[in-house]
Symmetry: C2
Subunit: 439 residues, 2 copies
């Protein structure tokens, strides 16, 4: 592929490339480039926020380059202070290794793991051997003032929130990783820019050609405001059940929908604009949900999440519905999975009850004259965390029994037949009295 064409693929959706000129030269060299991604092994649950960077790595692989997934098992002991408001407790080497294994397992869904385009490395390999003398030499390459220019450090320092000296060693260690790996490109979110620039400086100090930085925007979560993260519960996991993934993607706020297309699919901006024009926001949501549900239902997502992949499921991009059967059994199976998830979504949306909801059996001992307090019932069903939460939800008209809104928080429910409990729009549990034989 021509360097310009490759550059165009890589540049799509990036926030910043430092520098495009350097990247173009590297792409033109004809060499297989070494693309580094440093992974902080403290949060092992991969979601679509991670997928933004991992898919860009995958594109490098599709272009023939080698991806190096660098598990920061050693730096994990320090804890990356980037964007954090306080010092993290250091992890042990063992804890970081455990977390890392889970990360690699999940990343298989996006990254090819054939050894000609993939390398898995742990930075304890070289950082564990680093002498104090070398640490001093590396440390001398940066000043305190440069370090305190980092937004998060500056803020913490100004506000009097402690910064451990060991946290200053983090960007240096991460930069040294690039030296050890002889990285051509390092990828990361925009919040990693500072750390990645240190890698460039240290490579120069060690006489290497400095790496190119490819920085991706941070994906906004389902709340439309915060960066996607598990702890904020605004995420879509890469291994969600198809029905859950479909449902969550239908909830992506309109304001960020185009961004999701740009960062998570290979549909062009024009194709997305046309989708919205023809099918409205709901129609565009459906395309996104189908595309990603199908892609992530596969063991490894396809190379390109584009029109061809979408149409291989039997849809046409320009039309709302499905008009034909996929041509091969594998695609047909994917299409079936997507259709099922979508049907479930539609069923619930129009007030129906899906078939595959869980049943919870209630111990007869909980009942008094065949009755049970409504708050207690929802809590036993696992739909509320406490009776107090159930009360609050009832006040907000958020709980239903057999489709009827519960309005009385003191209601005594007669449980003489199975009931369908519902919380909010899409959480269902069937409750039934446990038979005396089983109790």
């Amino acid at each position: 592929m021509e360097p310009d064409a490759a550059l165009k693929i890589i540049a799509r959706g990036t926030e910043e490339i430092i520098t495009e000129q350097d990247l173009k030269q590297k792409l033109a060299s004809g060499r297989q480039l070494r693309i580094k991604l440093g992974v902080d092994p403290t949060r092992p649950d991969l979601h679509l926020g991670h997928a933004v960077v991992l898919r860009k790595m995958r594109q490098f692989q599709e272009l023939g380059h080698k991806v190096i997934l660098l598990i920061g098992d050693f730096t994990g002991m320090i804890g990356d202070p980037s964007g954090r408001s306080k010092t993290r407790p250091p992890l042990t080497l063992e804890q970081t290794r455990e977390n890392a294994q889970s990360y690699v397992e999940q990343a298989r869904k996006i990254l090819l793991q054939d050894e000609d385009v993939f390398e898995l490395r742990y930075n304890s390999e070289w950082l564990g051997k680093l002498t104090f003398e070398e640490v001093i030499r590396i440390s001398a390459q940066m000043t305190v003032a440069q370090m305190l220019e980092r937004e998060d450090f500056k803020k913490r320092y100004t506000e009097g929130v402690p910064i451990g000296i060991h946290e200053f060693l983090y960007p240096l260690a991460q930069g040294y990783d690039s030296v050890a790996l002889e990285a051509d490109v390092e990828m990361g979110g925009t919040d990693q820019k500072f750390n990645l620039l240190v890698g460039r400086d240290l490579q120069k100090f060690y006489g290497q050609e400095p790496q190119v930085l490819v920085l991706m925007p941070l994906l906004v979560g389902l709340d439309g405001v915060e960066k996607m993260s598990k702890s904020l519960d605004n995420y879509v996991g890469v291994s969600e059940e198809p029905a859950v993934m479909f449902k969550k993607l239908m909830r992506v706020p309109d304001a960020v929908l185009e961004n999701y297309f740009r960062l998570l699919t290979d549909l062009s901006d024009e194709e997305v604009a046309a989708l919205v024009e023809k099918g409205g926001m709901v129609g565009a949501h459906r395309v996104l949900a189908r595309l990603l549900t199908a892609a992530y239902a596969r063991e490894v997502i396809p190379a390109w999440l584009d029109r061809a992949f979408y149409e291989s499921l039997g849809y046409r991009l320009e039309e709302a519905g499905r008009d034909r059967e996929p041509q091969n059994p594998e695609d047909a199976e994917l299409a079936r999975i997507v259709a099922q998830a979508e049907a479930r979504y539609d069923e619930v949306a129009k007030g129906g009850v899906p078939e595959d909801i869980p049943t919870v059996e209630i111990d007869p001992a909980e009942l008094k004259e065949s009755k049970i307090w409504v708050a207690r019932l929802f809590s036993l069903a696992g739909l509320t965390k406490s009776n107090g939460e159930a009360r609050r939800l009832i006040q907000n008209r958020g709980l239903r029994i057999d489709g009827q809104v519960v309005s009385d928080p003191n209601l005594e429910v007669t449980l003489d037949k199975p009931l369908i409990l519902k919380r909010g729009k899409d959480k269902f549990v069937r409750v039934a009295l446990a038979s005396e034989d089983n109790s």
Copy 2:
């Protein structure tokens, strides 16, 4: 010795002890204490400024404790940033070892070097083996804010003078030295207080009893203003020729004379006050000069530079002059050395020419009709660095020939017999024409 008596000896002349209570407890324990002095091996010329701390170490030895001279051959690679206005260039391990050898050699004059009270260690022994992991663990014990509280760092940071990250590792490395040595006491100048406190913290972190800090004031140099240092040329070396040491000590500014007594001798404040009362400032200067010239003329200075030592030279502390002969040949030899230095000083003070001045032979080719330009003559004699300096000194009436002030910078001097050249108060050179046979 009772702990209280020992504490009194140690406390004399100190600026601060952290804490006296801790020190008293350690002294009362009956154990042989381990007294650490960290030595930065970048400036090998020992002067009386160093002697202040080394003599206090010697006092610990005299009380039966073990002194550990810790050569910072490893930390020398970082360069102690204490009180420095800019980052020092790191030294190599070899350079630091060379400098250290010279330090140890000179310290023999003050410290006993028998192995029951002396240990010589190099911190590369443990710091060279320190892993990055351990460095991280240690670094986590201090915050950036704590580090930037240090006066010199704060000043540099505020003024925008770069501080290398490696300089933050210095106090930590030095603190870790105390852990490795299991130091009971660490000594230093007041400018080392911050570094020494880090040692206390790290010892606690490693489960050790924290060391006591014994901080000595910095000795003011002969200019009466700046800290004594070789680079400011306001110093008295511990290995000066007796005549030079005597002469320099007679120049100690009156304002700091009592301080010299307190930090460099064991005469009590009362004894010193009596000296000044009876003999005036000049008389007190003579006592200081005799005492220190005699002490440092020995291979190893005596344990206590007190009345007994002074009187062993044949003087009485209360009287100006000498009234008897020392009782043993060794003391007699010291007394002779001091008397000679004093006589030379007195001879010069009253305008005389000492006997032992160097002769410089002038090549007849330098002469034109038996004459030579005065500036050229002083420069050939080595008394001025250049003809320009000679001109300036002549304008200030600072040069003499055979006792006569030179006032004409263009003077042509007839060199038909040896002449005595003099610069300032006490620099003499005899010049003579080299015989034709030798030229």
